[in-house]
């Protein structure tokens, strides 16, 4: 990581220089693109196109073009019909029935049937598949038992085909957002006959059979993936004839290729955002991604809630957008804007005097306190944030703060084994429901590194997951957020990140998405 980040900094500087000169009008202008072909930068090689096993955003981006699930995210990030034309849930919210479209065919001509979902879900939960995201279906009856090996009978899983076009799902408890979970790729249907025929290579070009708007045409590993229009897509073929997804890891070389007219859509590296803010192709949207600092609530002085609140109140969050310049939004709340039940009123405000009073009430003499250790993973942005936090706490509270950085995997191991007193982390939504964010700090969450537990918080989050009444759900999440961000303050939310892209002038119909998903089925190139 150290070599990589050192290199990245140097490269950004060098390519930045090249770009600065190029943007001033020295560029030769873009070469003409073949009509109807979109060339975008994926950033990295998708580790797999096996949607049961994929976990990363690049794989999701490609799979989203190739496949569809029961539902899909519509405007306002609400689930809308996709392969299921309608669905209903029982009065107790535990049984869901999905009615599939009858006009969907896989790209080899085989009609889609409900059993393909049953096969996919069983495969996802089969311990031998070793799917990292199997837990997305842990709310389905028998899922956890099947995945942990305590049951080996796939028939015990609460999903069955009631006919070729009806899928019934039984949940362990009522989950109001279940139709949002079925937008996620791990729940997509699979063809076991093809997996049996090709083994691990079933998701490679020439073998992969899908049913989405695009089909996999060619996959030059670590270099470029090529998708072509699916003429038989059930919703009608998309306008684009072809998508070429390049795997250019560094943002700056990708921008140079954009300037040379060889790419139509690239993500902006943080340092380049400012330069492109006036570019006609600049696209920006707040992401469902929060950035926070966590306290290990077992380590003094953060075992005292007054100290945690004081440290949270001693940070002027409004400075982060100016400091980082990536379109961030300062946030003292946890549920980001764009997420249902977001409430901007929640959170501890910047109040250094009240913060000092809290420290005094806790009987702490800041000057006598051992230095506070803040640990973050090696990265230029995280370093800037950590230095800002250090200066805020030193200035407003008079404590000494020591910063330590770690290589990513070393950092993660430390978080799992023995979390430092203060650490940084972020969270991006897997599906746009508040539960995906709020569940993080429940007592049973593996992602809660704070060692903080609050049974009231746990109950509120559980109750909200089952609550169908919109205003009641708002009340429950407001109450839970107040405990998390104000009363107990095991975490200090800092800001919400943004999606920042630049698109070529001939690209039409493209809008970025707060989930950072690229929807390309309504996009075309003039």
């Amino acid at each position: 990581m150290a070599v990589g980040s050192c290199f990245a900094r140097a490269l950004t500087a060098a390519a930045g220089l090249a770009l600065a000169l190029a943007c001033d009008g020295f560029g030769p202008g873009g070469a003409a693109a073949p009509r109807g072909t979109l060339r975008l930068n994926l950033g990295t090689e998708p580790p797999t196109l096996d949607w049961n096993r994929a976990t990363d955003s690049v794989s999701i981006t490609v799979i989203e073009q190739l496949m569809r699930g029961l539902t899909r995210l519509g405007p306002g990030l609400q689930p809308v019909p996709a392969l299921a034309e309608r669905w209903e849930s029982s009065a107790d919210g535990r049984t869901w029935r999905f009615h599939l479209r009858r006009d969907v065919r896989w790209s080899d001509g085989v009609p889609l049937e409900a059993r393909h979902f049953v096969d996919g879900w069983r495969r996802l939960l089969d311990p031998e598949t070793a799917a990292e995201y199997a837990y997305f279906l842990f709310d389905v009856e028998g899922a956890r038992e099947l995945n942990s090996g305590t049951s080996s009978d796939p028939e015990t899983l609460g999903v069955r085909a009631l006919g070729p076009h009806t899928l019934e799902v039984k949940l362990v408890a009522s989950i109001v957002y279940f139709a949002s979970i079925t937008t996620f790729m791990v729940t997509f249907p699979v063809r076991l006959d093809l997996i049996d025929a090709h083994g691990d290579a079933w998701a490679e070009a020439g073998k992969l059979v899908t049913l989405g708007p695009f089909l996999l045409d060619e996959w030059l590993h670590e270099y470029r993936i090529s998708l072509v229009r699916n003429p038989d897509f059930y919703a009608g073929p998309p306008p684009l004839e072809r998508i070429l997804g390049y795997m250019i890891e560094e943002g700056s070389p990708a921008l140079v290729l954009f300037e040379q007219g060889l790419l139509d859509l690239v993500r902006l590296p943080p340092l380049e955002i400012r330069r492109y803010q006036d570019h006609p192709g600049y696209r920006h949207v707040p992401a469902l991604r929060g950035y926070y600092y966590g306290f290990n609530t077992l380590k003094p002085p953060f075992d005292d809630v007054r100290v945690r609140r004081a440290f949270s109140m001693a940070i002027d969050r409004s400075q982060f957008p100016t400091l980082l310049r990536g379109g961030e939004i300062a946030a003292a709340y946890w549920l980001p804007p764009g997420m249902p039940n977001h409430n901007p009123e929640i959170g501890l405000r910047f109040d250094p005097e009240a913060a000092r009073a809290l420290l005094e009430a806790a009987g702490l003499d800041p000057t006598a306190l051992d230095p506070i250790r803040v640990v973050y993973n090696t990265d230029q942005t995280h370093k800037l944030v950590a230095e800002k936090i250090q200066s805020e706490w030193q200035t407003h509270l008079g404590v000494r703060v020591e910063l330590e950085n770690r290589e990513w995997k070393v950092f993660l191991r430390e978080l799992a084994a023995s979390p430092p007193a203060v650490y940084r982390l972020g969270w991006g939504a897997d599906f746009p429901d508040p539960d995906n964010f709020m569940n993080l700090f429940t007592s049973w969450s593996a992602n809660n590194h704070t060692n903080w537990e609050n049974s009231k918080y746990d109950e509120l989050v559980l109750e909200a997951a089952r609550e169908t009444d919109v205003s009641r759900r708002q009340e429950l999440y407001d109450a839970a957020q107040r405990i998390l961000c104000e009363d107990d303050a095991p975490i200090v939310p800092l800001f919400v990140s943004s999606v920042n892209l630049v698109v070529g002038e001939r690209l039409r119909g493209f809008e970025p998405n707060p989930m950072d998903l690229l929807y390309l089925d309504q996009v075309w190139v003039e």
Binding site: Y223, Q260, A446
Partner: protein
């Protein structure tokens, strides 16, 4: 000669085993595992994943399993690129690095040796000084600066060459020059000093006295002897250039294997780290053998595989 080469290759086998063992041990010692994620895996899922890759077995058994795999040519599955074997990943990436590396090798040898020779025969004069300055620049300019400069000049300003990607012969030019600059400069310095050592020696003067033409003297008597020093450098250079460069591949977005030397470690993709390390080690063994064979060809006094009488 063939017997000698076969023997040397056989001697390389234990070398590779030692390299594999040390790398295997180091990977198990460094903190952080392949499945440590920002989104922590629930324990039952982590167990399934570890079982799939046999990471739940005792380390000794994992080691034996790994050695068994190497001996049968199976480097195992990548932990990062699901469903792909390391052998397959390297088979995709190595040819790209080899193509780029061969071009860079040719450029560095051609320019390095010519510049070194030209500088030596015009010692102290203007061309020698200019070449000397160029060589210092070539050695000291980091490749990402040179790469960015070439992209700016030939890619964006002049628009003659692609600023990146791997789409045909033109794509090779800028990255190959970037990759070749430092070795070419080093070879130039090496050649120049070796030529200067040789140029005043008795056998050269004898050749001239016998009326051999100056061109023939330079080619046969001076250069051939001076190249011995360059040959020593050739072994590690060959392995380095053929296995790709992390920096050059990133700057020009080239799908070679150089990136894996860094990304496989940051991902803790143990089989891929071991795979690239073994390929690199094997190339070093082969390149060193090639160097020894070259020595024998360049210097008739060297007799391989025979002790002196």
């Amino acid at each position: 000669m063939i017997r000698y080469a076969a023997l040397r290759l056989l001697q390389g086998v234990p070398v590779l085993l030692v390299v594999a063992t040390i790398t295997f041990a180091l990977l198990r010692v460094i903190p952080g595992g392949p499945f440590d994620r920002e989104k922590t895996l629930p324990p039952e899922i982590l167990r399934n994943v570890e079982a799939r890759y046999h990471l739940d077995e005792p380390v000794a058994r994992q080691y034996l399993r790994y050695l068994g795999g190497i001996l049968t040519g199976d480097l195992g599955p990548s932990y990062k690129y699901l469903g792909r074997d390391v052998t397959q990943i390297l088979a995709d990436a190595f040819p790209v690095s080899m193509e780029l590396g061969s071009a860079a090798l040719a450029i560095s040898l051609l320019f390095g040796v010519s510049a070194g020779l030209a500088g030596a025969v015009r010692r102290g004069r203007a061309p020698d000084r200019v070449l000397g300055m160029l060589a210092v620049a070539g050695m000291s300019l980091p490749s990402f600066v040179l790469g960015a400069g070439l992209i700016l000049g030939f890619g964006l300003w002049l628009g003659w060459l692609p600023a990146g990607l791997w789409e045909g012969p033109l794509s090779v030019v800028l990255p190959a020059i970037t990759l070749a600059a430092a070795p070419a400069a080093y070879i130039a310095r090496l050649t120049r000093s070796s030529v200067l050592d040789v140029i005043d020696m008795d056998f050269v003067r004898t050749a001239r006295a016998k009326g051999v033409s100056e061109a023939r003297v330079r080619r046969h008597h001076v250069l051939r002897n001076a190249l011995l020093a360059v040959t020593t450098y050739f072994g590690p250079l060959l392995a380095m250039l053929l296995t790709g460069s992390f920096v050059v591949e990133k700057v020009f977005a080239i799908p070679g294997m150089g990136r894996f030397f860094v990304t496989a470690v940051t991902n803790r993709d143990y089989p891929l780290v071991l795979g690239v390390t073994l390929v690199y080690a094997a190339l070093i063994v082969i390149a060193n053998l090639a160097v020894d064979l070259l020595y024998a060809w360049l210097d008739p006094r060297i007799r391989l595989g025979r002790s002196k009488a």
